[in-house]
């Protein structure tokens, strides 16, 4: 799809299997009260076929980040720094440099996004099949027979009754059916990346289970990469191969699922994981992170987490810690990773 357009930028800094490389991305929202620094110097790589989870509190900038990948940020947002490099068929381009028509065609055929609250993702006055056909037609695929066959195939893949859903209107389907249809629509054009923003939030626990199973199966069959945004840690742990903890618009820790859940080195990650209730743990041992996410118009000096951090020292109030690689592929931004590791081990011994 992207091979048809002439690349304006070709960078060869990307490794073979990296399809999305975010470099020092900073985004601000311009508001009457001042600029909100929604993300600051975010960098990470997404490899082919892997699932990367972004975890963090509401308002930490996860959704802003993912919207920037398909250039759907609100009008008040500005990218002040950085690049988003995307690679397909050996050609690498900066998403931020694409023309309006290029970005329109990039959306969905290269990178599909399943939003949170998919209950309203379908136009209520059009049949589901018409919305599949619309999407295909917008990307130059008008062969009716192909569209129908592909649509029915995908319905089967997400375990829906193809004949029933094909002619249905959105209001004739349940929430779970709509979510599955949206997943099917997401992979209609065989994208390399699928962004899932809280894909199961509005669903009951059994439907969540079914959706996750469907997603895993789809990924195995179609081999796309997933950016998984969630504050449900259990779900993230199950889905992802790599996890990034996002706090106040920065990636504060990044690593494999095992790194993040069993060898975390950042106090915020520790707090997130300790705040998940467990049956095996006493209620009073449930830990929450004190305070609130910071005001991003005037963020705290030094490490942005220091006002809420139990390990904070004077150094933390002044110097922002750099993201340092502790093990291969495991990075954390904290001056006191040793203390965090010690606390983690102490907590684990209690359990």
């Amino acid at each position: 799809m992207i091979g048809a357009v002439k690349p304006t930028i070709v960078e060869n800094t990307m490794k073979n299997d990296v399809i999305l490389q975010v470099q020092d991305l900073s985004i601000v929202y311009q508001t009457p009260r001042g600029d909100v620094m929604a993300t600051t110097d975010v960098s990470f790589d997404l490899r082919k076929g892997e699932t990367m989870a972004l975890i963090g509190e509401s308002g930490s900038g996860k959704t802003t980040l993912s919207l920037s990948f398909i250039r759907m940020l609100p009008n008040s947002a500005r990218v002040t720094k950085g690049k988003i490099l995307y690679s397909r068929d050996g050609v690498t381009r900066d998403i931020l440099e694409m023309s309006d028509n290029e970005i329109r065609r990039f959306r969905w055929s290269d990178c599909a996004m399943v939003f949170q609250g998919a209950q309203n993702a379908f136009n209520p006055v059009l049949r589901v099949r018409q919305q599949f056909a619309d999407t295909a037609a917008a990307h130059g695929k008008t062969d009716k027979a192909w569209i129908k066959q592909r649509t029915l195939e995908l319905f089967k893949l997400v375990r829906l009754d193809p004949e029933r859903v094909y002619e249905a209107y959105p209001h004739e389907m349940s929430g779970g059916m709509r979510q599955r249809s949206l997943l099917a629509l997401g992979v209609l054009l065989d994208p390399q990346i699928v962004i899932l923003d809280e894909p199961t939030t509005a669903l009951d626990i059994l439907t969540q289970r079914a959706i996750i199973d469907v997603l895993k199966e789809m990924q195995q069959r179609l081999n796309f990469s997933i950016i998984f945004i969630s504050h449900d840690l259990a779900l993230a742990a199950e889905m992802a191969s790599r996890v990034a903890t996002v706090y106040a618009g920065e990636i504060v820790e990044e690593g494999s699922v095992e790194d993040i859940f069993y060898r975390h080195r950042h106090p915020y990650t520790l707090g997130l994981i300790r705040s998940v209730p467990r049956l095996s743990r006493q209620q009073d041992e449930l830990m929450s992170i004190p305070g609130e996410p910071p005001n991003l118009i005037t963020p705290p000096s030094g490490c942005k987490f220091h006002p809420r951090c139990m390990f904070a020292s004077d150094k933390c109030k002044v110097d922002p810690p750099p993201l340092v690689e502790y093990e291969p592929g495991h990075r954390a931004a904290c001056w006191h990773t040793d203390k965090v590791a010690a606390a983690r081990i102490a907590f684990a011994a209690q359990d």
């Binding site: 959306r107 996004m113 609250g117 379908f122 136009n123 209520p124 619309d134 917008a138 990307h139 949206l182």
Partner: protein
């Protein structure tokens, strides 16, 4: 089923259908079409009955109005005038309203709207057939123009919200909808007709020039449009502001819907999103308003037609009221009622075509 004995062969003891009239009626009434028609008929009957007695409670009857006229204009004595009036009208002012009602309803059930009281020999149905088309034409054209134009401008305002264009158009539409349409009519007549003399007020009276021969000629159609121009202009100015503001708000609401954002993320072209995703959904509430407005075509035309001496059903109604021509008034009220009922029915049907969510169950 109580009559059915288990031992009896099925053929002999075919269960006698127990006939309960109420059950039967209830099942009959459950049918959508039957229910709709029944409701419409009840509405029409109620309005006819109500207006029948109401207009007879108005001060003065046709005879008295004519007696007044004769006494003032021709200096007749009351007795002279009364005997003249009574001999001219097929109307007995002393007959009881209930007798009149029974007689009227009897005729109406046979499809007979009766004769005009003040000009005997003229059937009311003929009068309506003569005047109604002009009103439907002029008000309908006005409604069509202001709906289309208003919806388009409203969409533009929503897309450009909080810009200079939006603020300007909002201001204009507020002013337009705040001033009643007959004030616009008067202002147009006085400013452009009398002061600036852009057009000849006298020439534009009526529905077409007296020198014209009606027919499907280009000349005649042009003349008809020329005469309808001013009333149509006033209908448009009087209602376009409302359409604009409604469409603007509806579109802004729709633009915030998830499915519009998802449509953008799906890479649809902006024209496809505008038409099939935003416009289609934003205009749904507009069609309900449109149907309600169709019902008010006749009622809303009275003052404007009188103002521009446009010979439509509105000015006919005005004339009948001033003459206390009961049968003519009654006829026009019947038409108004029917048009309101029918337009509401059409709105229901149209809406279910446009919005699959309200489609009647059982309908494919």
């Amino acid at each position: 089923m109580a009559t059915h004995t288990p031992t009896a062969p099925a053929l002999e003891a075919a269960p006698v259908p127990s006939f309960h009239l109420l059950d039967y009626l209830r099942r009959f009434y459950a049918n959508y079409t039957v229910r709709t028609i029944f409701k419409a008929l009840v509405t029409i009957w109620a309005v006819i009955t109500f207006t029948f007695f109401l207009i007879r409670l108005m001060p003065g009857n046709p005879v008295e109005v004519y007696v007044d006229f004769l006494m003032n204009q021709q200096n007749m004595t009351y007795d002279e005038a009364y005997s003249r009036a009574a001999s001219q009208f097929r109307f007995d002012p002393d007959a009881s309203p209930v007798t009149q009602y029974v007689e009227y309803m009897g005729h109406l059930l046979q499809g007979d709207l009766g004769e005009s009281i003040t000009s005997s020999g003229t059937r009311v149905i003929d009068q309506i057939a003569r005047f109604l088309p002009w009103t439907i034409f002029s008000v309908g054209l006005g409604l069509l123009i202001s709906f289309t134009l208003g919806a388009t401008l409203g969409t533009i305002m929503a897309y450009k919200r909080n810009t200079f264009i939006d603020h300007t158009l909002s201001l204009i539409s507020s002013i337009l909808s705040a001033v009643p349409n007959y004030i616009w009519g008067l202002m147009i007549l006085i400013i452009f007709g009398v002061q600036l003399r852009w057009f000849n007020v006298g020439e534009l009276r009526g529905t077409y020039s007296p020198t014209m021969t009606p027919g499907f000629t280009l000349e005649f159609l042009g003349d008809v449009l020329k005469h309808a121009m001013l009333p149509v202009l006033v209908y448009v100015t009087g209602s376009i502001g409302g359409w604009m503001l409604n469409m603007r708000n509806s579109t802004i609401g729709t633009l915030g819907e998830d499915y519009v954002g998802v449509a953008r993320a799906r890479g649809l072209t902006s024209s496809r999103i505008l038409l099939a995703y935003v416009g289609r959904n934003a205009s749904l509430p507009m069609f309900t308003l449109l149907a309600i407005n169709i019902g008010f075509i006749i009622g809303g035309s009275v003052i404007i037609e009188e103002l521009f001496v446009y010979k439509g059903i509105g000015s006919f109604l005005y004339w009948s009221i001033s003459q206390r021509d009961y049968t003519s008034m009654q006829g026009v009220f019947l038409i108004i009622t029917i048009s309101v009922v029918v337009s509401n029915l059409m709105a229901d049907l149209l809406y279910s075509r446009l919005d699959p969510r309200v489609r009647v169950s059982g309908e494919k």
